[in-house]
Symmetry: C2
Subunit: 194 residues, 2 copies
């Protein structure tokens, strides 16, 4: 316990290696063949493990896919702190737009709106947690006096992120930097003449 | 042809009556039992017609449901023209929020994001057409000088409607007038101090 470099016991490390191999295979299959292609059998074959080991660890195919996507995507959405609210928002929402334009991002969002009892507790929270993290950019803007004191941080984040999600889910319209800039500037400045 | 009150031939009128009865039954079942309860058999029984007549007219269950929901909901989203852009937007988006809070509205939106080849061509356009209609409120605001001349009308409509759709599809957070007012005022005024 006082060791400066505590290491997991061998069994656990093997488990972690297996876990990473399976998740990487799942992400590859999701990217190349979409949700339908990422069956437990195909993932297990690609990772070189037994199908039963996958079921033992994840229980269901849905849990495996969710774990693969969230692990993969979590690194892709850092919350910046540039000292200027507009730059922070542009960086964050450009990253979100890029993410939603990837096959994995689309797959995770599609999975999030499908009815499925086994996932109900984890998918909604996935996006809410990421957007909750983003709220701090707005709070800092208020503290610096860049934004009005009565700004509702959550509402601003919803107003910029909502159209990005809707374009993926409903309209299929493209996500690009022009769109992100337009939404951020509308939320900051409004459409009234100044 | 020069008759002042042209009437449809008897056969066609019977068809229209049958159509309305089936659509009303479908809406009732969707409201009371959700998407899963609105089978062709249940709808036909409730409308007092043969299941084969329903298939002959609509082809698939999905077409029937879509027809029922769009017919029902079309009357619920008028585009107001009060002479003030804020009042127009509040009225329109409050109506949209109320609509999305009904079982039928939810059902139509859920149906719109589900993958289904038979509906692909009609569901996306359903919402796009309704939002396209809304753009005129913003244009009139620009013409009256209430909004900046470089306002992007479609973007403003997306910024207000997006969060409403996302709350239904992803977060399950409530849709109320406080939310609608907050989104409309953010899009009009922005979060920067004035």
């Amino acid at each position: 316990m006082s060791s400066p470099e505590p290491v997991a016991p061998p069994l656990r490390r093997r488990g972690e290696r297996m876990r990473r191999a399976v998740l990487a295979a799942a992400v590859d299959l999701l990217s190349s063949q979409g949700l339908a292609g990422a069956t437990v059998g195909a993932v297990a074959r690609a990772a070189g493990v037994h199908e039963t080991s996958v079921y033992r660890r994840w229980g269901t195919r849905e849990n495996l896919i969710l774990d693969a996507l969230t692990t993969e995507l979590d690194a892709a959405l850092p919350v910046p702190d540039t000292g200027r609210v507009r730059d922070d928002l542009l960086a964050f929402f450009s990253a979100l737009a890029r993410l939603l334009a990837t096959p994995q991002g689309r797959a995770l969002l599609r999975l999030s709106v499908e009815h499925d009892d086994t996932l109900e507790d984890r998918r909604g929270p996935y996006w809410s947690e990421r957007l909750d993290r983003a709220v701090v950019m707005v709070r800092r803007g208020v503290e610096r006096g860049e934004l009005a004191p009565d700004t509702d941080p959550g509402l601003l984040i919803e107003a910029v992120s909502g159209p990005l999600f809707v374009r993926v889910l409903l309209s299929g319209a493209p996500l690009d930097d022009v769109l992100v800039r337009g939404l951020v500037d509308l939320a900051l400045t409004g459409a009234r003449p100044r």
